[in-house]
């Protein structure tokens, strides 16, 4: 006998209604004013016109800040990846027989990861002072969180056969992890490190806004004085660097993982 078609349409409608109510509530909460948007449209259009005309003559003055942004990204990536690798092994159940330790490492890193990079930078600027060092430390904290999350998940998914074989030779866990697990995750590790570098170039431009060094500081300066042509050039530079880096890293990563 064929089953009666279940009547489930009302469930979908209910979900839709709930989503609509929450959205409208959120809109009123932040006072979305469509009228103001239309009223100020000419204002926005002016700025867009200004931004569409980058001041290329400003380029030499941005070079040192651009270099600093890239240097910050590279150093933070290297430090974050180096610190993150051993921590990833501690954060995986596959490579570490001690469950309490895994739980501790995981929960500490969950906290580290839940703080946004901009907040780290803002706090560090008050401790270390403005400049690239605050920015780099903020990025490292941000990176360790990401690396450990991604790599420990890769470790959780490795083939456990080689690990069992290494342990069966009488090796300690640390040695067996090194010999049997590390070779399996190296390509993923290299690929994620490149990804973190991409994230860092993007993040390090913003971190400067709160005093963390690099292009961000420059953005803050020209914005304060309404120099939109110069701001436009900086944005263009960031765009070009990020696009180039992304292309290079995705090209490399494809070769690493396959």
């Amino acid at each position: 006998m064929r089953p009666v078609r279940p009547r489930t349409a009302w469930k979908g409608l209910l979900v839709l209604a709930v989503v609509a109510v929450i959205t409208v509530w959120a809109g009123f909460g932040v006072q979305v004013d469509v009228g103001a948007l239309i009223k100020n449209f000419s204002n926005a259009a002016d700025k867009v016109v200004l931004l569409a005309q980058p001041d290329y003559g400003f380029f030499p003055e941005t070079l040192s800040a651009l270099a600093q942004t890239l240097q910050m990204a590279v150093i933070a990536t290297a430090a974050g990846a180096a610190i993150g690798l051993p921590l990833s092994f501690l954060a995986s159940r596959v490579t570490d027989p001690s469950r309490p330790l895994v739980a501790v490492v995981r929960s500490v890193l969950n906290v580290v990861r839940s703080v946004p990079d901009l907040l780290y930078a803002a706090i560090l600027v008050t401790i270390v002072g403005t400049g690239a060092l605050s920015g780099v430390i903020a990025l490292v904290l941000f990176n360790v969180g990401i690396v450990v999350k991604l790599i420990s998940e890769a470790i959780d998914a490795v083939d456990r056969g080689p690990l069992e074989a290494a342990l069966a030779t009488g090796a300690t866990w640390v040695r067996a992890d090194r010999a049997a697990v590390l070779p399996q995750i190296l390509p993923v590790y290299a690929s994620q490190t490149l990804y973190v570098l991409e994230l860092n170039v993007r993040a390090s431009t913003v971190i400067g806004l709160v005093g963390g060094g690099g292009l961000g500081i420059l953005i803050d300066q020209v914005r304060t004085f309404y120099r939109y042509h110069q701001l436009s050039l900086i944005i263009l530079e960031i765009l070009v660097v990020v696009v180039l880096l992304e292309a290079a890293s995705s090209w490399l990563r494809k070769r690493l993982v396959s």
Partner: protein
């Protein structure tokens, strides 16, 4: 590689039982003695406890009753150093080879030296000349030293299993355990691998304990056969003594083509 005399280790099971959490019994009342230098085949249906039996010898499966004595070492050993020392004397070959496929062949064989090299060397992969020499000799013994610098994953199944055998030889073990070593291989390759195991037993005097599903292989290569059924030993004797009736006891039915490697090959 060292000769047998000073390295001999008998394996003795006394009233060994294994129960898994949830009350499933893997092994019951196992009393067994395997003198050093023997080549033993363990046969039985899947689920009969073959894998569990060989894995108790190196402590990969902890026993819950009785004791096992290997040479002068006792199981259950406390985890840690005592267990690792026992394991370092016992090589193991697996059905699915269990190689680090992205690492080179030589690095896989050097895993057999993990138990003795200093930690910094194992972490950096900076192996001593002596360890590399031992690994190369092990590869020569199984005839694939020319593949030493090839990625393990790029080898055929039979070659990978021989790398795994070389890995156990690099341990300079007294005992080699093989858990269905040819179950993933085609018949001609199966014989190559079985002959490798036969040779390390004959030439190096290493005790070899092999789980086998195929009876003709077990009869041909095992000078002694142990039949398991439902976690108990139901037969222990020579290949000649193991006639059709004995196999019917072990398998709980008469033989079919499925139980014989050569028959499968002819299909």
């Amino acid at each position: 590689m060292t000769s047998t005399g000073d390295r001999a280790a008998d394996i003795t099971f006394r009233g060994v039982g294994v129960s898994y959490p949830g009350g499933v019994r893997g092994l019951q009342d196992i009393d067994l003695r395997i003198p050093a230098g023997e080549m033993v085949a363990v046969v039985g249906l899947s689920g009969a406890g073959k894998s569990t039996l060989v894995r108790t010898i190196n402590g990969l499966v902890p026993i819950t009753e009785g004791e096992i004595v290997v040479g002068d070492r006792h199981l259950p050993a406390s985890r840690g150093r005592e267990l690792r020392e026992l394991r370092s004397e016992i090589g193991m070959v697996f059905q699915s080879f269990n190689l680090a496929r992205r690492a080179r062949v030589i690095d896989n064989v050097l895993m057999g030296r993990l138990h003795t090299a200093p930690t910094w060397r194992t972490l950096l992969g900076a192996w001593s000349r002596d360890d590399v020499e031992l690994a190369m000799q092990a590869l020569e013994r199984v005839g694939i030293v020319d593949k030493a610098y090839v990625k393990a994953g790029n080898l055929s199944g039979g070659q990978q299993q021989r790398v795994a055998i070389a890995r156990t030889l690099a341990q300079q073990p007294k005992i080699v355990l093989a858990d269905e070593p040819v179950a993933s291989l085609d018949p001609p390759t199966s014989h190559t691998v079985m002959r490798d195991l036969e040779r390390i037993n004959a030439e190096l005097g290493i005790t070899v304990v092999i789980n086998l599903h195929f009876l003709d292989l077990a009869r041909r290569y095992g000078r002694r056969l142990i039949g398991l059924r439902g976690g108990r030993i139901v037969f222990d004797g020579t290949g000649e003594e193991a006639d059709e009736q004995v196999f019917a006891d072990i398998y709980g039915r008469s033989l079919t083509g499925e139980d014989v490697l050569e028959a499968r090959a002819q299909l």
